[in-house]
């Protein structure tokens, strides 16, 4: 598979929601090779702080125009620095890395996406691919803590998607977790989906994974991890996996080379420590 490192010019840098930005990059070689679900490792300036590249999924891909987009939320030093990048600056980008979403089979009639917060990012590239499938009906369950963290509705125009919104604080749409909204629909208003895609906080993905495993529905989860290299060299982005032979022995998958797209049954969820959401990290920015 082609992997490229190129200097990408910033064409647009726009704030779309609270602490959420979209970067448009001129990166012709990567745009030509990238597929929905894959990611890029982006170097944030020339300095030593932050030291490492940061992984970002492709938000939208325009191969003909040679453009890729990244959607990110400010969560720490790296994304804080990224938010101060100006149009006309350039960034050193490596990609495309990792595996891609498998597109649903041609006879799929119902495709469901579940997105939590910035987990919406890779789904635009996926929806770009699905727009050409007029037979399938596409439903997106899209939740965030609060309404101002959700992308504005007009961004979904033309994507032929029905969006079901939820917020933890009830400020917009369904009040509660996006997985609760998703499960309510799955029990009643919507038939059994042919394909489910999920991206968001790990706890959210765990709910989707458990549901998909129980229902025997084909699901693809886009998972994330801290990464140093992004190419399978450092082995830092390990996730506990169901062992190939002996379930008692530890076995790990790596988000960068085995993922970032995983099937729910490949992850050993019990071994992942989940904890309460951390306080707003603007303290570090």
């Amino acid at each position: 598979m082609v992997k490229i490192q190129e200097q990408a010019w910033i064409m647009e840098h726009e704030k779309l929601a609270r602490q959420t930005y979209r970067l448009m990059l001129q990166s012709p070689e990567i745009a030509a090779a990238a597929r929905a679900g894959q990611f890029a490792m982006v170097r944030l300036g020339d300095g030593l702080d932050p030291l490492l590249r940061r992984p970002f999924s492709f938000h939208r891909i325009f191969p003909k125009q040679g453009i890729i987009e990244i959607l990110y939320r400010i969560v720490g030093r790296g994304t804080g620095k990224l938010s101060r990048i100006q149009v006309g600056d350039s960034l050193d980008v490596m990609g495309p890395l990792g595996n891609a979403f498998r597109l649903p089979s041609c006879d799929s009639s119902l495709v469901v996406l579940v997105a939590g917060g910035i987990g919406i990012a890779p789904f635009f590239a996926l929806m770009q691919d699905l727009v050409g499938r007029p037979d399938a009906s596409l439903h997106l369950f899209y939740g965030a803590r609060s309404g101002d963290e959700l992308l504005p509705p007009q961004l979904f125009d033309g994507l032929r998607v029905t969006v079901h919104r939820s917020t933890d604080d009830g400020s917009l749409g369904y009040c509660g977790r996006v997985t609760d909204l998703f499960q309510e629909f799955m029990g009643s208003a919507l038939p059994r989906p042919d394909a489910v895609y999920s991206c968001g906080p790990l706890a959210m993905q765990y709910h989707v994974a458990r549901w998909a495993l129980n229902q025997g529905v084909d699901a693809q989860l886009s998972l994330e991890s801290l990464m140093a290299c992004g190419v399978g060299a450092c082995l830092g982005c390990a996730l506990p996996a169901i062992g190939a032979d002996d379930p008692a022995t530890d076995h790990y998958l790596h988000v960068c080379k085995d993922g970032p797209i995983f099937s729910p049954g490949s992850i050993q969820w019990q071994k992942i420590q989940m904890h309460r959401a951390l306080p707003q990290t603007f303290l570090y920015n």
Partner: protein, 328 residues
């Protein structure tokens, strides 16, 4: 210092002789940061490297430590990978062929829980063609057995080197940990035990915590720090080791550019390894090779060998160049 004044444009000689090991240039990719070469194949031409040191290999495959395994700190990276690797058999059958297809010396980093593991690894690799040298890892801070336990004690470090020396005729590099009081003592012990070369340093034992969740940031609680943050520590260790032994020394630790590398040559390293920089710039090693060449050209030095270990330890007071001296 030999200055070559008659050929300012000529290409300086970057080749180095490390005991029995001759390299076309002194820059290697450090173990654990370049995988088995293939991972970075799309981004850097491995054939340009002086050598590649592959990820540490044990007899049996190892799953490594539970995640999270990484945390970034100022100018540094703490890792607790736990020597995850494919094991010797799969390394030989599945990973080595790619590197054999490339014209680059392959150095195999070996690691064991017990003395006998090191010896068996060495004797089995001794029979595998196309291996330039072995690097004995007695310095990993992230495993419960073996690793740093061996490297922190001169007698134990020597016993590992002796066991490996008896099992192979391959050139031997021993990689030392900085997490000791007197690294020079360890260096002398492994030299006396028969190592041909010493590389230093492995990562510096370190820790990071989350003040909100009140949890460690690594599942292993502690890990090993690498990156520019440790470069001054690595430089000091290299200086002390080079002073303590007669065998060649490879400097490792936070080298990000050619000028960093020159510091290590100056204090006595005959070669360098580049680690964490590969993650940031996959072509870092190649840029460093080119940068060393440029430095030598500009300084009018025809052979890198002539620069190695030429540190004049009489410190010059800052801003006290003769041109601005007082009292004239």
């Amino acid at each position: 210092m030999a200055k070559d004044s008659n050929a300012p444009g000529a290409s300086p000689d970057l080749s180095v002789q490390l005991g029995p090991l001759r390299l076309k240039n002194p820059v290697m990719a450090a173990s654990g940061t370049f995988g088995y070469g293939e991972e970075y194949g799309a981004f850097a031409d491995v054939e340009k490297l002086g050598a590649i040191v592959v990820k540490g290999i044990s007899l049996e495959p190892r799953a490594g430590n539970p995640p999270p395994r990484l945390v970034e700190t100022p100018a540094g990276l703490i890792n607790a990978i736990g020597l995850e690797n494919v094991g010797l058999d799969h390394f030989i059958s599945g990973k080595l062929p790619y590197l054999h297809g490339k014209r680059v010396p392959v150095i195999v980093n070996i690691f064991g829980n017990r003395l006998e593991d090191y010896a068996e690894l060495a004797s089995r690799l001794d029979r595998v063609p196309g291996i330039a040298a072995l690097e004995i890892n007695i310095s990993c801070p992230n495993v419960k057995q073996g690793g740093m336990l061996f490297g922190a004690d001169p007698a134990m470090a020597a016993s590992v080197v002796k066991a490996v020396r008896a099992a192979t005729t391959l050139p031997l590099i021993t990689k030392l940990t900085p997490n000791v009081t007197r690294i020079g003592d360890i260096a002398q012990a492994v030299e006396d035990a028969g190592t041909d070369i010493i590389s230093c340093i492995n990562t510096v034992a370190a820790m990071a915590v989350d003040i909100f969740s009140r949890r460690p940031k690594l599942a292993n609680i502690v890990g090993g720090l690498s990156g520019p943050a440790i470069r001054p520590i690595a430089l000091r260790c290299t200086y002390e080791v080079a002073a303590a032994v007669r065998c060649p020394v490879i400097g490792v630790g936070g080298i990000f550019d050619a000028l960093d590398a020159m510091e290590f040559f100056l204090v006595g390293a005959s070669a360098v390894q580049v680690g964490t920089a590969n993650f940031v710039r996959p072509s870092a090693t190649l840029e460093i090779i080119a940068g060393i060449e440029r430095f030598l050209q500009v300084e009018g030095i025809s052979r890198l060998q002539d620069y190695i270990g030429t540190l004049d330890t009489r410190c010059v007071f800052p801003f006290a160049e003769e041109s601005c001296a007082l009292g004239d």
